[in-house]
């Protein structure tokens, strides 16, 4: 075998384990789900193989599914916005801190050492009827009766922000950390105040990180399943909960498949649109 031939094969040999994993664990199951979504659940138990559009018709026309899908996207959008507003100053602080950057980054990663479910459930101990906040307010005499603060849309968003904020901070941090501080000095020497310099130089140059963090937060929160189960009320179901209902509770695999594909397609389309207008490539254009 010639050197050229060997070099041409090398990337494929190196990629083989990853490609095998992706094909076996992602592509193949996805194909199964696509096929399943066209089958029919029969009362007898065994599903009817075939090409039926019934599940898709139900998923696309039932206003129940549509409303929950829109609500899911709304919750994801609010979560992303809150993460961006809270995350940017934190990322800026870490990027500009001298010396203890590593310590701050480790502190940021620390929550990942604890299970996401346990972190989510911790809010019950804080906001619950006999939780820390209610006890403190009763002890301080601010209220007489405990207030029910849990199990609504706000606590779902709170839980999601708690979960996703580090992702946002890390993405913005990476972007900010790569910006030459001389640029801000140059801007001030030319007459810009610190704030003007930030708006003109630092903020636009950090947009790729903000966009990446935003995308990650949006997709992860739109696909979340556990947070609404733990922190949401009966009416706060998100789309992933519907998939769970269909597949686990009703054992309706075909409908569940169609619903999960619907979410996948909607998020996929949003990602494509996002990339088109706030695309990483577009934003990175000016960066050398």
């Amino acid at each position: 075998m010639s050197i050229e031939q060997r070099e041409a094969r090398q990337p494929w040999i190196l990629l083989a384990p990853a490609l095998t994993a992706i094909v076996m664990l992602l592509i193949v199951p996805l194909v199964f789900i696509v096929v399943y979504s066209f089958w029919l659940k029969s009362a007898a138990g065994a599903d009817t193989p075939g090409f039926f559009l019934d599940n898709w018709q139900e998923a696309l026309t039932d206003p129940f599914y549509r409303d929950i899908l829109l609500n899911t996207l709304k919750i994801a959008a609010i979560t992303t916005l809150v993460c961006a507003l809270l995350g940017y100053p934190a990322a800026f602080f870490i990027a500009r801190s001298q010396g203890n950057k590593v310590v701050l980054l480790v502190l940021l990663m620390l929550p990942f050492w604890i299970s996401y479910i346990i972190r989510t459930m911790s809010w019950i101990n804080i906001l619950g009827v006999s939780g820390a906040l209610n006890s403190a307010m009763i002890w301080l005499g601010i209220i007489n009766e405990p207030i029910q603060m849990l199990y609504n849309e706000t606590t779902v968003i709170l839980g999601l922000v708690h979960f996703l904020l580090p992702f946002m901070v890390l993405n913005i941090f990476v972007s900010l950390d790569g910006i030459d501080t001389n640029l801000e000095d140059a801007a001030s020497s030319l007459g810009a105040t610190r704030w003007q310099g930030f708006l003109q130089v630092t903020l636009p140059l950090s947009l790729p990180g903000l966009a990446a963090g935003g995308l990650l937060c949006f997709v992860l929160s739109a696909g979340t399943y556990i947070t609404p189960v733990i922190l949401g009320g009966p009416r706060d179901a998100m789309f992933a909960n519907l998939v769970y209902e269909a597949i686990i509770r009703q054992l309706n695999w075909p409908l569940g498949s169609a619903l999960s594909l619907l979410l996948l397609v909607v998020l996929g389309v949003l990602v494509i649109i996002y990339n088109r207008y706030l695309g990483m490539a577009q934003l990175a254009k000016g960066l050398g």
Binding site: D180, N182, L183, D185, A186, A187, S188, S189, L190, G191, A192, T193, R194, Q196, Q200, V201, P204, L205, K285, G286, L287, G288
Partner: protein
């Protein structure tokens, strides 16, 4: 009138003093260079003038006005960085126009000024490009255009040529000097490169370990170094332990073993006022290698052996032994460099020598 005045400036970072009691007067329209090795405090000084650092003590005045409490964006200074610091997301024209946005300059006026500045740096057609599409030399010219378009009171250059490769650096040096002279802006230039400093400056401030070693015109600093540090930092100098045997009206007599008697002109040894041990300074370029036995009536000569040769194309650096002393000489090469082991006669003139007091070794 002085454009910049530093009075007893001190800068401390915690326990470390980066700049000690520095006073400096930079006259209007002049090109002044802060020269020194890294860590000598030259950039710290520049950043204090710029307003990027606050002095711990002392006063900074620009055009006679105290600016210690004036923030950087109100100082009206042009700042050029080693790494260009162009805004990567803005076009060349937007970069150059940046400072004009914060001054009351009309749109048409701004356009004209940007075009003029680009013309001045000889890149009139690159306004629409992005910085990353330009070469290093072009980027540095744009950075210069951006700094001068605002008509700054003082232009501050922080090692602007260091990131460029050797040939380009020399072109930019000439170019920078031309631009500075054509607009007549007071310029403070920071560099560790003695050639740049000698070529461009009206005045050189040699710094070492946060202290000013010498302030003077390039020739003055080069020919009459005020300290051993200056003698060694600017070019290759031979520093030899010698003895001053007498001080007369016009010159001082210096003796050292193996050398003839040297009468150094007084102005080359301003710090020597009494006989005693001194340091004799002879520049490597001033030692001329001649065939052994050559006799020269108006110069001094000493026999030497070539121990090593550092070939540099048009010139060569010779490492020579004269008795117990090791000397360097840099000579133009006529044909071939002299081979190692050659016996030569070294010629030099007393007026090219300088003498310094012996410094306490720290």
């Amino acid at each position: 009138m002085s454009a910049v005045t530093l009075s007893n400036i001190v800068k401390r970072f915690g326990d470390y003093t980066a700049v000690h009691q520095m006073s400096l007067d930079i006259s209007e329209g002049s090109f002044v260079t802060l020269l020194g090795p890294s860590g000598c405090g030259k950039t710290t000084t520049l950043r204090m003038i710029a307003g990027l650092l606050d002095p711990s003590e002392g006063e900074i005045a620009i055009k006679g006005k105290r600016v210690n409490d004036v923030p950087i964006h109100k100082r009206n200074l042009g700042l050029v960085f080693q790494n260009y610091a162009l805004f990567p997301h803005k076009t060349v024209a937007e970069n150059v126009a940046f400072g004009l946005n914060y001054r009351n300059v009309g749109k048409e006026d701004a356009k004209r000024k940007v075009a003029q500045a680009l013309e001045l740096v000889q890149l009139p057609n690159l306004g629409g490009r992005y910085p990353k599409e330009l070469s290093g030399g072009q980027q540095q010219r744009i950075a210069l255009a951006r700094a001068i378009v605002i008509e700054p009171d003082v232009l501050l250059l922080d090692e602007p040529l260091s990131a460029l490769d050797a040939n380009l650096r020399e072109d930019m040096r000439v170019e920078l000097k031309r631009i500075q002279q054509s607009i007549g802006v007071t310029t403070v230039f920071v560099t560790h490169d003695q050639t740049e400093a000698l070529a461009m400056s009206d005045k050189i401030i040699v710094m070492s370990e946060g202290r000013v070693e010498q302030i003077g015109a390039p020739e003055e600093v080069y020919n009459t170094p005020a300290s051993e540090f200056v003698a060694q930092f600017l070019g290759a100098s031979n520093l030899l332990a010698a003895n001053c045997t007498g001080v007369s009206g016009n010159d001082i007599a210096v003796e050292l073993p193996g050398f003839p008697h040297i009468a150094i002109p007084k102005q080359r040894a301003p710090k020597i006022s009494a006989p005693g041990p001194v340091r004799l300074v002879i520049r490597a370029e001033r030692l001329v290698l001649k065939p052994a036995g050559t006799v020269d009536t108006d110069g001094l000569s000493v026999d030497a052996v070539v121990e090593n040769v550092d070939y540099q194309g048009q010139s060569a650096r010779y490492f020579l032994r004269v008795g117990e002393h090791q000397l360097q000489a840099i000579n133009m090469i006529d044909d071939h460099p002299l081979p190692t082991g050659s016996k030569v006669t070294l010629q030099f003139r007393a007026k090219d020598c300088a003498a310094l007091p012996v410094e306490a070794r720290s």
